[in-house]
Each structure stands twice: as structure tokens, then as C-alpha cells.
């Protein structure tokens, strides 16, 4: 038994966690089988999303087939690192430490004017590069750890943290990530702490965005999953200004969720009228 962790779960977002675990485990095994891989690799930050994916992957294929890569920058919170190490210890997975400070500092050099946005995006893409390199050395597919909330509002770095071979939790809102993490026994300290991109001290997603995750999740759920109009969600009690701001974020992030368009010239064009499953006979690695 794990001690219950307090978190705010809007009732309409509550999921059947047993079914979610079953579906996700089959999904992970299916992705690996179809690609001809037996192992996976993921970036473990110490936050709840990557911790949950580590637990789900370990449950699906066993901890010995998962490599967790810790990729701190020199200003990253030490608490994040110890939380990540606790996940590795509890699951008994392989782990590696890749310090991205020399890569990031080597690029920006003395340019201290670089904005947090530029630095944050660059760090996310350095981590992606390291993960895909470890994908070769470890012989594993890169598992994505982004959740539905951040994907919808675009709180991701394109070709950075969103890059992966497949994503088991990309259709779960942050509140549902917390629910599932609690059900799986992810350490309570990880579930309880404020979500953060950890780009500067005391940064939190909710502080930066001006919302709380349960509120944002509920709004996105009604607007997108349940197809309610702006007027209808305002009638549910959401502030119109917040609704309009979030709508704009979602629309503005559409490009991050899709494969870039190709100019249509030939008779058959990938993604337009050449449509095959990602994995099909012959596509698995021998």
C-alpha cells in the first residue's frame, strides 16, 4: 500500500486506471514488436510525467529493458535529480547521467542576453539529441513523456521534448497523469510538487501560465473532448478571458502537433495521398 497523495482531480476527468494501465502496457509492447525493438529509453527529469512513463514502461516490458537518462543542466534543481534517482532506485532500471551544461554553454558562450525561451528550447533539443544517441547505444526506442495538457496549449519545444518514437501518456491530462501516477505508486513527493520546466529557480508551470492545472484541464476537456462552445463553457463557470486566452494558445500550437506540410507536386505524397501505417510488414528492424 502506498499512502494516499493529495491532489485535485476534477470528477469528470477521473479515469479507470486499471484499464488505462492495461491499454498503455499493450500499446508499449505493440509499438516495440511492430518496430522490431525490445528496449526503450526515456529522459527522466524528476517530474511526474517522465516518472509515470518510467513506471508504465517498466510494468509493460520489465525494468531491465528500460534506460532512464538523467540530463540536468548546471542550474537544474538538485531536488529534481534526487527525485529522478529515487524513481530509478525503486524501479531498478538502468540509468545514465548526461550533463548537458557543456553543450548548452558551448553554444551560447558568453551570450548572456539569450532569453529564457531560447535557452529552454535549446536545452530541450540537446536532451532530444542525447536521447536519440542513447537510442543507438542502448538499442531502444525513445518513449515520449509529454501529456495532453501541455501538448494542447503548446507548452512544449517542437523537435525537443515532444520528439519520440511513441507516447503512452499524450492523451492524458495533467490531472489524469496525477491520478494514474498515484495508482501506480509513483513517489508521493513527485506527485505533490508543483510541475516545473525547471529552467530557472522556483519556476512553475502554473505560475508562468497563470492557471491551475485542474482548472485548465477541465476547461480543455469541455472545450475539446466534449465540444462545448465558448459561451457554453463560460456558462459552466469559466472566466471568458481565460477561455479566450486558452483557445488562442491551442490554435497557436496546432503546428507543434502535426507533421510539417509538404508542397504537393507528385502523384503520391507522404501524408496526403500516400497513407500507410507507421509500422507495417517489412518495417520492423531485423
Amino acid at each position: 500500500m502506498t499512502s494516499p497523495v493529495a491532489f485535485d482531480l476534477p470528477p469528470e476527468l477521473a479515469i479507470d486506471t486499471d484499464i488505462a494501465r492495461r491499454v498503455i502496457a499493450d500499446f508499449i509492447r505493440g509499438q516495440l514488436r511492430q518496430a522490431g525493438f525490445e528496449r526503450t529509453v526515456l529522459g527522466l527529469s524528476g517530474g511526474i510525467d517522465s516518472a509515470l512513463v518510467a513506471y508504465l514502461t517498466a510494468e509493460a516490458i520489465g525494468p531491465d529493458r528500460l534506460l532512464c537518462v538523467l540530463m540536468p543542466y548546471r542550474t537544474s534543481s538538485p531536488a529534481s535529480r534526487s527525485d529522478a534517482e529515487e524513481v530509478v532506485r525503486r524501479l531498478g532500471t538502468a540509468s545514465e547521467l548526461v550533463d548537458i551544461s557543456p553543450m548548452v554553454d558551448g553554444y551560447f558562450g558568453p551570450d548572456t542576453d539569450a532569453s529564457p525561451l531560447r535557452r529552454g528550447n535549446f536545452m530541450a533539443r540537446m536532451r532530444m539529441s542525447a536521447l536519440y544517441d542513447r537510442s543507438v547505444t542502448w538499442g531502444g526506442l525513445v518513449v515520449g513523456t509529454g501529456n495532453k495538457t501541455e501538448s494542447l496549449i503548446g507548452y512544449t519545444t517542437v523537435f525537443g521534448d515532444s520528439a519520440c518514437a511513441f507516447n503512452p501518456i499524450g492523451d492524458l491530462y495533467k490531472s489524469q497523469v496525477r491520478q494514474l501516477a498515484a495508482a501506480m505508486g509513483v513517489p508521493g513527493s513527485i506527485i505533490a510538487k508543483a510541475p516545473s520546466a525547471d529552467l530557472w529557480p522556483d519556476q512553475t508551470d502554473e505560475g508562468e501560465g497563470g492557471f491551475s492545472y485542474p482548472e485548465l484541464d477541465r476547461l480543455l476537456f469541455w472545450r475539446i473532448d466534449k465540444r462545448r462552445s465558448i459561451d457554453e463553457v463560460v456558462a459552466l463557470g469559466f472566466e471568458r478571458a481565460l477561455v479566450e486566452r486558452v483557445d488562442k494558445m491551442v490554435a497557436g500550437a496546432e503546428f507543434k502537433r502535426q507533421v510539417p506540410p509538404i508542397a504537393k507536386l507528385g502523384p503520391r505524397t507522404a501524408g496526403v495521398d500516400y497513407l500507410y501505417p507507421r509500422r507495417r510488414p517489412g518495417s520492423a528492424r531485423e
Binding site: D16, I19, D26, Q31, Y274, L275, P277, P281
Partner: protein, 330 residues
């Protein structure tokens, strides 16, 4: 006429097809037919596109089978002493691709149903890749009862189970590749899709006073997980077998055809159906939709075939022959 069997053992092959791997899936079908025979099954039902997998897209044309394909003949040959429903991509002589389900009995292919309703909304895109069937027929069976076969979405249209029952089906068979979604904890079994299907299948069994056999696949194609939960429902609407969600396996139950008679005598809904009334009213509705008859529910002033009347004519710009128009109106 064949004698009514005392008891029919129905086996549901809740399998996870490999996407696009026809040979591998064929072999799996042969294995499961053998297993069902060993378990003394009379009727073995495989899920929609069990021979090919579901999310085929452009692969559809690469795994299609003509009805005279030797691989299909070989599969039929494996049904001596058995009835089996198998599903695949059927290519017609004029090269249309259908999602098809065939009834194989005693070594022969005896009936083919082509999917009538191709969902092309939400996560579905079937109409892009497949042609829709045009035929719906109940079929007599070596089991001594009429069978009615539908494929997945076919049973999301009231007409299909009803027509099959009116046409003489006593066992309604639905083969599916139903993607699981909506994990809201408030759902009956934690999965919205399962709740919907269970409601529908029980309702059809009761309203048609027929057995309903529902075989849904498991496994994963791309993003989509198929939830299984195959069922056999009695003519009373009671579930006789509920296979587990997401587990692969062959699940069997014995059904008694005598239950059909008992239910239909006690609750003669099928006797009291009014197909001639339906035909009359449908003919009227079709004519109204086509603008060939007055639509009783349309707004006054609506053109034939349209149910909304145009709004008021836009008034002339201010000052433009206004006085003259008014004078003319009087």
C-alpha cells in the same frame, strides 16, 4: 430442412490480428479453428478484418482477397463439421474493395456479407479506402437456424438487426474491430465504448428476440487499442457470455435454439412488426427528401426538398426607388 440442434456451442475467437500480415493471420485462423473443433464448437466467430488487421489504409489493396482465392478456399476446407465467420478485405471482379465477412460451413464458402455502413468520422476513415456493400440477407445455416451477419458499424444502424430478424435470422452475428475510447471512471465497465456496445447488443437481442453474438478483436494498431469484451446475448437480453476486456483467447458458450421459440411465443414483437407500414412511410420520407412530395415538417415557403425557407428578401439600399416600390406594393 435441418433438424433443430438441441444446443449450439458458440466459440468467439477474440484475437489480435497482425496488421497487414495476411499469411500469419491465416495461420492463426487455422490454429483457432482446430482448437475450436477440439473443444466441440459448432459455430466459430472471428472479428472484423481478423485476417488483415484494421488500420490498413493503403495496405488494403495489398491484402485483398477475391472470393475464389485459394487461401480462402483452404480456410473454408478447414471447416468440415463446423460453421465459421471470418472477415477480410474482399476485392470484387471490378476491383472494388469491401470489408467482408464470409460464412464458411462444412468446407464451403456459403455466404458473404459486405459491410454496409462505413464510418468516416472521428477516428474512422473507412469510406476513403473501401466501397460500401449493397446487400443484406439472412442466411440459412447447417446449425438449423437462420444467421444474420453484420460488421461493426452495421449494428449502429437500427435497420440492420431489424431487417436481418425479419428476413429470418435467429442468431444475429456482429464481427467488430471496435477501438476502445473514453476511459471515464463513471462508465459501467470503465470504458465508454464497452458501455455503448453492451447497451446496443442487449437492446437488439430483446427487440428482435434473437441471440446476438458479438465478436470484437483485441490488440493494437498504431494509436488504437481494441477492447475485446465479446459477448453472447440471449433473446431475453441476458448476457450468456462476456469475454474479458483486452485478453486474447477463444471463449465458448452453449446456446439453446429452443430459447428463441420460447421468447418469440411469449413476447411476439417480431410477429407484430409492421414492415408494410415502414415501407409506406419510408417511401414518403424518401420522396419528401427528394423534393418529389410536400414535406409536412418543412417551413412554409421552403422549396421542395429543403426544409428551411429563405429569410426575408434584403431591402433595397436606402433611397433607391423607395417611394416607387412602396407605391407599387399597394
Amino acid at each position: 430442412m435441418l433438424a433443430l440442434m438441441q444446443s449450439i456451442r458458440v466459440a468467439l475467437a477474440q484475437l489480435a490480428p497482425s496488421l497487414g500480415e495476411l499469411d500469419r493471420n491465416l495461420q492463426r485462423h487455422h490454429e483457432l479453428l482446430e482448437q475450436a473443433r477440439a473443444e466441440k464448437a459448432d459455430l466459430v466467430v472471428f472479428p472484423e478484418l481478423g485476417l488483415t488487421g484494421y488500420q490498413l489504409q493503403d495496405l488494403a489493396a495489398e491484402v485483398s482477397l477475391r472470393l475464389d482465392d485459394p487461401r480462402l478456399t483452404a480456410l473454408a476446407a478447414a471447416t468440415t463439421g463446423l460453421s465459421a465467420v471470418v472477415s477480410f478485405v474482399e476485392e470484387s471482379a471490378d476491383h472494388r474493395l469491401f470489408i467482408a465477412a464470409a460464412l464458411l460451413e462444412d468446407g464451403e464458402l456459403v455466404h458473404v456479407h459486405r459491410k454496409l455502413f462505413l464510418p468516416t468520422y472521428g477516428l474512422f476513415d473507412e469510406r476513403r479506402f473501401f466501397a460500401a456493400g449493397d446487400l443484406l440477407r439472412a442466411v440459412p445455416s447447417r446449425l438449423g437456424v437462420g444467421l444474420g451477419i453484420g460488421i461493426c458499424e452495421d449494428f449502429w444502424h437500427l435497420t440492420v438487426p431489424q431487417l436481418l430478424a425479419l428476413d429470418g435470422a435467429q442468431i444475429l452475428i456482429n464481427v467488430s474491430s471496435s477501438p476502445g475510447r473514453d476511459l471515464a471512471a463513471t462508465n459501467e465497465v470503465g470504458l465508454g465504448t464497452a458501455t455503448s456496445w453492451r447497451t446496443l447488443m442487449r437492446t437488439y437481442a430483446q427487440l428482435t428476440t434473437s441471440f446476438v453474438v458479438f465478436c470484437n478483436r483485441v490488440g493494437v494498431d498504431e494509436s488504437i487499442s481494441f477492447w475485446g469484451g465479446s459477448e453472447v446475448i440471449a433473446p431475453t437480453g441476458a448476457a450468456l457470455l462476456s469475454a474479458p476486456l483486452y485478453d486474447e483467447g477463444l471463449f465458448s458458450v452453449d446456446i439453446a435454439p429452443a430459447d428463441i421459440r420460447r421468447e418469440r411465443i411469449g413476447l411476439p414483437l417480431l410477429r407484430d412488426e409492421r414492415p408494410e407500414l415502414q415501407l409506406r412511410e419510408l417511401a414518403r420520407i424518401i420522396a419528401e427528401r427528394a423534393g418529389l412530395a410536400h414535406d409536412t415538417t418543412s417551413e412554409p415557403g421552403a422549396e421542395p426538398g429543403l426544409d428551411v425557407a429563405p429569410g426575408d428578401r434584403v431591402p433595397h439600399p436606402i433611397g433607391f426607388r423607395r417611394g416607387a416600390d412602396r407605391a407599387a406594393d399597394r
